[in-house]
Amino acid sequence: MAHAIWSGAINFGLVTIPVKLFTAVKTDDLSFNLLHKTDEGRIKYERVCSVDGKPVPWDEIVKGYEYEKGQYVLLTDDDFAKVNPEATQSVDIVEFVELDKISPMFFDKPYYLEPTKQGRHAYALLREALAESNRVAIARVVIRTKEYIAAVKPIDGALVLELMHWANEIVASDTLELPDNEKLPEKEMQMARMLIDTMSVDEFEPEKFTNKYRDELLTMIEARAEGKELPKAKKAPARSKVVNLMDVLAKSLEESKSRRTAASAGNGKPAAAKRRKKTAA
C-alpha cells in the first residue's frame, strides 16, 4: 500500500491502539495546465496588491478576516498557532452509536486505519465488537492542525475512519419547496412501484458505471501525445458515409411505417404526454 499519511493511535477508555492512516478514496480527475496558446508558455499567477498594483512577496502577506465590509482583523501565523488544537496524533473515541442513526449526509471522506504490529490484537477486538453491536465509534481527530469529528466503522475487515461534517456545515432542506405526499393515487403509486421493481438489481455494481467523459478525453490525449491522427469527427469519404446513411434512413422509414400501422390499429398512442388545462397540484 502507499505511504501512510498520518500515524497515531485510537484511544478509548484505557485502551490505545497504534494505527496508521491511509487514503481510501482517490479522485480521478484529469488535471490540466494553463498555457499561452501561441507559445505554450505556462501561465503564472502573480500576487498583486490591489492598492499599489505591484507584486507582493510572501513575507509581506498576512491573512485578514473581513468582519464588516472593508474592515479587516489581521492575523499572523503566531495568532493561528495560539488557537491551533494540540497535535495529539490520536483518534479519541467519545461515544458509540448505531450506524443508521447518522444521516449519510454527514459523512465526508473515508480513510483506512491499519494497526501497527503492537496494535493488531486490540484492533481486531474493536472491529469485531463494533460489527457485532452494529455500532460505529464517534471520535475527535486532529490531522495536522485541524480538528475533525469522525466515525470509525468496520468495513470488510478494516476499520475505516470517516471524517464527518460539523452540524453547522449541513444545510437544512426546509428552505426548499417540497411536495407533501398526502393525496397520491394508489394507481400511480402502483405504477411507480412497478417501475422501481423492474429496474431493480440485487447488488449495486459500481464497476458498471464508468466515467465516459474522462475515458474519451484520455484516449484523445494519449493519441495526440503519440502524434497519431485522431478519430476525426467523421471525415470518412462522403460517398461511403452517404451510402451507409441511406441504409439507416431506409430502415428508419420502415420502422416509422410499422409504428404508424400499429397506431392506427389502436395498439399504441404516439405520445405519452398528458395535456391538462389546470394544475394538478
Binding site: A238, V242, P270, A271, A273, K274, R275
Partner: protein
C-alpha cells in the same frame, strides 16, 4: 405611467395585470417592455399559429438585454390557470415529469411578454404527438467572417437539392445571424428519420459546396468564412426559436419567415455585406407592417406537410452514384 405602476389590459376574454411597461429592455434602442407586448399583439395570429401546442421554453430578460437572463424550462411559478400546459415524462431526468406551458392564445402571449420573455423557444413537435418531429431542420449558422452572399448561396443549394428530390422547404431568419430551412413533415415520422434524412442532405450539400460550408461541430475548427450546416437540432425536447420570436440583440431583431426570392436576392449581393446587416432590418418595428403586407409566409398555404419515402428513394438513386 410611472415605471413601477401596474396596469390592466383586456385581451380577448382575459384581463391581465401588467407591470413596469416603461421598463427599457433594449437600452440602445429605447424599446420598452410595453413595446415588446405591443409587438407580440400585432403579430399574434401568425405567432400563435407556430407556438400552438408546442411545449414552450421562454428566455426572460427581466433587466433588459444587458442584464441577467434565464431559461424558463418549465411553467413559470404563478402562471395563471388559463394558460394551457402539458406534462411530459422525462426519463433519465432529475424529476419524473416536467410541465411546460403552451402558448395557445393571445392572452398567454401577452402574459409571457409581460415576464420580459423576449425569446420564445418551442419544441420541434407538438401535442399530442411529441415524439414525432414536425419538420426536417437545417440550422444554417454563418461563421464570423461569412458574408450574406455565402450564407444565401449555401441556403439555396440546400433548397435546390431538396427540390431535386421533390421536396418544398421553407426558410426564415433565426433572428440572429443565420437562417432556418425546414421541410414540413407528414405525421408518423420519428426523430431518427428526420435526423438521418437531414444528415444525408447536409453531407451531400457540403460535399458540393467546398469551402463555403462546413459540418464541423467544434466552433474553433470551423472556417470563419463558411456556413455551418447544423442538422441535429431536431429531437425530443430540443427547441428552435419560434417564428416571430424576438432576439435579445440591439435593434430587437425578429425571427422572420422569408420569400425564397429574398434569399435569391441576397445571393446576388456584393460580398461586403454581412448577414447581420441585412437581418437587422427585420425588427419589432418593421415586422408587423411586413406581416400585414405579406401575410404569414409560413402559413397554411405554404406549410405543406410532406412525405419522405419518395424523396428518400430518389436521393438514394441520384446521390449514391454521384457520391
Amino acid at each position: 405611467m410611472s415605471s413601477k405602476e401596474r396596469s390592466t389590459l383586456s385581451v380577448g376574454a382575459r384581463t391581465l395585470s401588467l407591470s413596469n411597461l416603461d421598463k427599457v429592455l433594449w437600452p440602445r434602442d429605447g424599446y420598452t417592455k410595453g413595446d415588446l407586448i405591443a409587438y407580440f399583439r400585432s403579430v399574434a395570429p401568425p405567432a400563435i399559429a407556430h407556438l400552438k401546442d408546442r411545449p414552450l421554453t421562454v428566455q426572460r430578460y427581466p433587466n433588459g438585454i444587458d442584464g441577467e437572463t434565464f431559461f424558463e424550462k418549465q411553467m413559470p411559478r404563478g402562471m395563471p390557470e388559463w394558460v394551457e400546459r402539458v406534462t411530459v415524462p422525462t426519463p433519465g431526468g432529475s424529476r419524473s415529469e416536467v410541465t411546460f406551458p403552451l402558448c395557445n392564445d393571445e392572452p398567454s402571449l401577452v402574459y409571457f411578454a409581460n415576464l420580459a420573455a423576449i425569446v420564445l423557444h418551442v419544441w420541434t413537435s407538438c401535442v399530442p404527438a411529441l415524439d414525432e418531429p414536425e419538420f426536417v431542420l437545417f440550422d444554417l449558422d454563418p461563421g464570423e467572417k461569412c458574408t450574406l452572399k455565402t450564407l444565401a448561396t449555401v441556403t439555396l443549394s440546400i433548397r435546390d437539392l431538396l427540390a431535386e428530390i421533390g421536396l418544398k422547404p421553407l426558410v426564415k431568419t433565426t433572428g440572429g445571424f443565420g437562417l432556418h430551412v425546414v421541410v414540413p413533415l407528414a405525421a408518423g415520422y420519428s426523430y431518427e428519420t428526420a435526423k438521418v434524412f437531414a444528415e444525408i442532405v447536409a453531407r451531400h450539400a457540403a460535399a458540393g459546396l467546398g469551402d463555403l460550408a462546413t459540418l464541423q461541430r467544434t466552433i474553433a475548427k470551423r472556417p470563419q468564412t463558411a456556413v455551418y450546416i447544423d442538422y441535429v437540432q431536431v429531437g425530443l425536447g430540443k427547441t428552435i426559436v419560434a417564428p416571430y420570436s424576438v432576439r435579445a440583440r440591439d435593434g430587437a431583431p425578429v425571427s422572420t419567415p422569408l420569400h425564397w426570392a429574398e434569399v435569391e436576392a441576397f445571393a446576388r449581393r456584393r460580398s461586403g455585406v454581412a448577414p447581420a446587416d441585412e437581418f437587422a432590418k427585420l425588427t419589432i418595428r418593421t415586422t408587423p407592417a411586413r406581416v400585414a403586407r405579406e401575410g404569414d409566409l409560413w402559413g397554411p398555404k405554404s406549410w405543406k406537410k410532406q412525405r419522405l419515402e419518395g424523396p428518400s428513394a430518389k436521393a438514394n438513386r441520384l446521390w449514391r452514384e454521384r457520391g
